[in-house]
């Protein structure tokens, strides 16, 4: 006997609403950024965080690119201590979701000068928000070419000389920056050893 396949599953309603959610987690599974575009999918913060926790637990050990969790297709990618996820419906073309994910990753990689790690990301959070906003608008893929995204965001990593702030503050910041560079180098080494 053949199992019956419901007709509804077979038909994807033609629509531009491709992405159900996108989120970035750190290596403890904490949310750094997340956007849910379908109000019916996990309407409450608690449900969203549960979902993120579940997805993280199932994906952080092996870098497998794609999984099917809680009835949703999830494509993902990790970098040092960051995890990037794009979620779509089970009928969605998986390659479209991958296109969104790689555009997000490439764009971030560019503005972060290839330092795609937590500290660096958090230091440039405004750039991250703007990039996500240029790639997906309300679930619709707005742009999928990283070069176009960067051009539209026109964001520079904050390093310009300070005009109004005191020299003293300038120095403190520089110092902090150095120690931050050291810190991130340390973490990178740590992670490469752990891997």
């Amino acid at each position: 006997m053949e199992p019956l396949i419901p007709r509804i599953v077979a038909l994807v309603e033609p629509s531009l609403y491709t992405v159900k959610a996108v989120f970035i987690l750190d290596n403890d599974g904490n949310r750094l950024l997340s956007k849910y575009y379908d109000p019916e999918l996990y309407p409450s913060m608690k449900e969203q965080k549960n979902f993120e926790r579940n997805v993280f637990n199932k994906t952080h050990k092996a870098d497998n690119e794609i999984a099917f969790l809680e009835g949703m297709t999830v494509v993902y990618k990790s970098s040092i201590d960051l995890f990037f996820y794009v979620v779509g419906s089970p009928q969605e073309n998986e390659l479209m979701l991958v296109a969104v994910l790689s555009c997000l990753f490439e764009s971030l990689s560019q503005i972060l000068r290839k330092n795609v790690e937590r500290r660096c990301l958090l230091d440039n959070m405004e750039g991250v928000f703007l990039i996500v906003d240029e790639i997906i608008d309300g679930g619709v893929i707005l742009e999928s070419d990283p070069q176009q995204v960067l051009q539209k965001v026109n964001y520079r990593v904050d390093e310009n000389p300070l005009s109004e702030q005191s020299v003293a503050q300038h120095i403190t910041e520089k110092l902090a920056l150095t120690s931050h560079v050291l810190q991130s180098a340390k973490e990178q080494i740590k992670w490469s050893i752990l891997k």
Partner: protein, 877 residues
């Protein structure tokens, strides 16, 4: 003072999150510097980022504080720092729902949207549309139309996507922009193309002609965007599905041509669309399957996943089409992505031969603990269908399933396993004891009430009939001691069945029952007391009626009748026969608590039962005054088509049987848009002594709005054996011509009629299916007072299967004890059928079939009423 790097964070190492210890109140305090002159863009930018970060973390902002921060933010529009301005747009979007008076920024945004800075324009449009409601939309309509056709792609895309979001709220305004969207669709920019196509389709999707035209245009002109191609493929396959046209149409050709597109995304979308089409032939599938086969060896995990998932679906319908990919699938078994490996194995299980089953099962058990529950369920489903295909493999499967049952897993997963084991037990009698043993072990430590009750119910049904019933008693009684109320109640019901079936166990069961009567829960005590008393009578008929076979009435119907009875108390005791019967026989798969002893259930049903189709008809018919005196509805038939497809009028009939009457419900649809029908009746001419007593017309049948008319027929009282009859039917009505556009009818009409196909009433219309879970007990209960037996030769029938199918559909009775399944390679078979004859007389049929040059059938009928036995035998003959 803002410090980008908090000292505390620095020290704590892993907690180096500059946003970690953010306090909402502190951030809002900081936001006061928005009002300082001159504006410090860096500091303001950082504060806005903090606010958005907090909102993103789920921090709750009160309306007042949000509004205050929002108003302060509006001042930042004075700065010309690009990133700051962009963050203002984001803040506006994030706060649109939590702050009041967000429309205050409308003019600033409109300025940016039409200004010279291209970087601002797109994002400003998206922010503006986010805060614009349908009343204000007209004010910016002009700008939106211009923006849609703007030569800067980001502006045009932003306007198109925002329009799409607004279609939900303001369809009427947005649909006026269709010409602009059309123009945008021919843009050189691939994203603009895609967004324009999406908006156009959304505006036109209810107009099939317009969609077809649009599709023709774009498939011919050729688009550059792969996303747009995917969209076109989806539109084309939807259109193909709706028109149910053949696959020789240009739409199918277009989809097939996309298989040769240079972008993988488009190729996959096309392959997936073809695979999902209903009624695809093997030849049409072949090219799609071969591109999927190529994808199986792609270095991209997502593509391999997509391909194997789609092949898995193909394998359900067309296993042979996928056989060509077996080698590629074999390579995926060891894929490091376990989802891909699982899908590959389950696909192979569907396409492979019986000999490969053992090897594949071994492979899959090596990593089953690593995969997610969703895929474990997929594995169980594959095993389930495999068991149906290769019944001989059930011992391998059973072993595998019992191991899975011991692993950790969620409810859905465990339920899938339990269902699978139960179906194996039902299909293969020799696996019954092993299966029951595994299930017994499972309920020893089962946290899911639903599964425990289901298994207890199964044990009660199957256990007493095994060679060693006593060994199950311990498992069941352990539940009474250890579990929650619902499980205890189900265990009591199961125990009672052992006592009723096995005389030597009865004394021990009575002792256990006695203990259950001390239970702390009402339901458990009530059940125990009830069963105790029934069992002590030691009467087979009582056991059959109250322990083995539950009630066969409709539960919502019973509830209604009882409620009615309490409203109008009378001297007469409540009559169960006045309750309509349940239409779908209570399946054996339901949980134990629902099937047993509904009589003593004190309104504690586990879930609210949805009214069945028949309950709905009962209600509809009772609302018609002419039918109120007919009593409870006995049976409603399936719909019978009385017109050919694609005719002027579509008429379907449902036959409703009552104790002494039948009501024929004609559901009519008028498919002519220039006609209005009034006073529609279906006139019926019976061939036998049936008497048409009343017609209830459908007052008016406008174009494409279905309506119902009814014909009431009295069944012949003097001849109860006249159960079959043929009616010739004619639809009569008053036609008024009308304007196809407005539906406005002319004043005058004329009478007309339309001949329908004949309608048959057969013996099946007088019998309602009833499932007797224990046919033997029911057989004894009815007794042989009116038993009759006759032998027939079914010359035209070649196989036992065919004979069984014919008898069931002819008599319209419920096969019991799974006797509708004829075991393979047997020359004889016994079929058990149960039902209730109109007037509430139980009727049971035992048909012994023997195969030898056609089928010989010996039919034995028992009933509580002699005429019923005669009717059945006469109609079989």
């Amino acid at each position: 003072m803002i410090k980008k790097f908090d000292k505390k964070d620095e020290e704590s190492g892993s907690g180096s999150n500059p946003f970690q210890h953010l306090e909402k109140s502190a951030v809002l305090q900081e936001a006061r510097i928005f009002n300082e002159t001159p504006i410090n863009p860096r500091r303001c930018l950082h504060i806005l980022t903090k606010i958005i970060y907090l909102l993103n973390q789920g921090e709750h902002f009160g309306t007042t504080e949000a509004t205050e921060a929002f108003f302060a933010m509006t001042r930042l529009f004075q700065s010309n720092d690009q990133t700051l301005r962009r963050m203002c747009y984001l803040t506006i979007k994030e706060m649109a729902n939590i702050s009041e008076d967000v429309i205050i920024v409308t003019s600033s945004l409109t300025k940016d949207m039409t200004g010279k800075e291209d970087v601002y324009r797109g994002p400003a449009i998206r922010a503006l549309c986010r805060i614009t409601d349908s009343t204000m939309l007209q004010a910016i309509e002009r700008y939106m139309k211009q923006a849609i056709v703007d030569k800067v792609p980001s502006v045009s895309s932003s306007a198109l996507v925002s329009s799409l979001h607004m279609v939900k709220r303001s369809y009427d305004v947005v649909k006026r922009w269709v010409n602009e969207a059309q123009e945008a669709a021919s843009s050189d920019n691939i994203m603009v193309q895609y967004h324009a196509l999406g908006l156009l389709y959304h505006l036109r999707k209810n107009d099939r002609l317009a969609v077809t035209k649009m599709l023709n245009k774009f498939t011919k002109s050729g688009l550059k965007s792969p996303f747009a191609y995917c969209m076109l493929i989806r539109i084309a396959s939807k259109l193909l599905d709706e028109t149910e046209g053949g696959h020789d149409s240009p739409l199918f050709d277009f989809i097939e041509s996309c298989l040769r597109n240079k972008n993988e995304m488009v190729v996959y979308e096309a392959a997936s669309a073809i695979v999902h089409m209903p009624n695809c032939t093997a030849r049409e599938l072949a090219p799609a399957v071969s591109v999927l086969q190529l994808f199986c060896s792609s270095p991209k995990a997502a593509l391999r996943y997509a391909a194997v998932r789609t092949l898995n679906k193909v394998a359900m319908k067309h296993p042979s089409a996928v056989t060509a990919c077996n080698l590629d699938l074999e390579n995926l078994i060891t894929d490091s992505n376990r989802s891909i490996a699982t899908l590959a194995i389950t696909t192979l299980l569907k396409t492979g031969s019986e000999s490969s089953v053992d090897r594949l099962m071994k492979q899959i058990s090596s990593f089953v603990s690593e995969i997610s529950d969703e895929f474990k369920v997929v594995v169980v489903q594959a095993i389930s269908s495999l068991c149906q295909k290769y019944p001989r493999k059930h011992s391998v499967m059973m072993n595998f399933l019992s191991n899975m049952l011991r692993d950790d897993g969620g409810f859905e997963y465990k339920r899938a396993i339990v269902d699978c084991i139960i179906s194996i037990i039902e299909e293969n009698p020799e696996s019954k004891e092993t299966g029951l043993a595994h299930l017994c072990e499972f309920i020893e430590d089962c946290e899911h009430t639903v599964l425990a009750t289901k298994i207890l119910h199964l044990l009660g049904k199957e256990g007493p009939r095994t060679p060693q019933p006593s060994k199950y008693i311990r498992f069941i009684f352990n539940r009474v001691v250890l579990e929650s109320e619902a499980v205890r109640a189900a265990a009591v019901s199961a125990l009672a069945k052992f006592g009723a079936q096995n005389d030597d166990l009865l004394p021990s069961v009575l002792v256990l029952m006695q203990r259950c009567m001390m239970d702390s829960d009402d339901e458990v005590r009530d059940r125990a007391t009830f069963y105790m008393n029934v069992l002590q009578q030691k009467q087979k008929a009582l056991n059959a009626a109250y322990i083995f076979n539950g009630l066969s009435v409709s539960i919502p119907g019973l509830e209604k009748s009882l409620h009615q009875y309490t409203l109008e108390p009378s001297e007469k005791p409540f009559d169960m026969k006045s309750v309509p019967l349940a239409t779908a026989p209570i399946t054996e798969h339901k949980t134990g608590t629902t099937t047993c002893c509904r009589l003593i259930c004190t309104g504690k049903l586990p879930e609210k039962l949805a009214p069945s189709r028949q309950d709905i008809y009962q209600e509809q018919l009772a609302a018609i005054p002419e039918f109120q005196a007919l009593g409870p509805l006995f049976k409603s038939s399936e719909q019978v088509q009385l017109t050919e497809a694609e005719t002027e009028y579509v008429v379907r009939c449902i036959k409703h049987t009552f104790a002494r009457h039948m009501v024929f419900q004609f559901d009519c649809t008028n498919t002519l848009n220039d006609q209005l029908l009034q006073k529609v009746v279906v006139q019926m001419e019976p061939s036998e002594s049936y008497e048409v007593t009343n017609y209830i017309p459908a007052t008016s049948l406008p174009y494409s709005q279905p309506g119902s008319c009814y014909t009431l027929v009295q069944l012949p009282d003097d001849d109860p054996t006249a159960v079959s009859c043929t009616f010739s039917c004619t639809m009569k009505y008053l036609v008024k011509d009308c304007d196809p556009n407005t539906g406005e009818p002319d004043d005058d009409g004329y009478d007309d009629e339309y001949v329908l196909e004949d309608l048959e009433v057969t013996v099946a219309d007088h019998i309602q299916k009833v499932l007797k879970a224990n046919f033997g007990a029911a057989w004894e209960e009815v007794g042989d007072e009116f038993e009759k037996e006759e032998t027939f030769a079914l010359a035209s029938v070649q196989t036992l299967d065919e004979a069984v199918g014919n008898i069931i559909s002819f008599l319209g009775m419920q096969p019991c004890e799974r006797s509708d399944k004829v075991p393979e390679n047997k020359n004889s078979h016994v079929l058990f059928l149960a039902g209730v004859f109109r007037g509430c007389h139980d009727v049971l049929v035992r048909a012994r079939l023997a195969l030898a040059d056609g089928v010989t059938m010996q039919v034995t009928v028992r009933s509580s009423e002699e005429t019923v036995v005669d009717v059945i035998l006469a109609s079989v003959g």
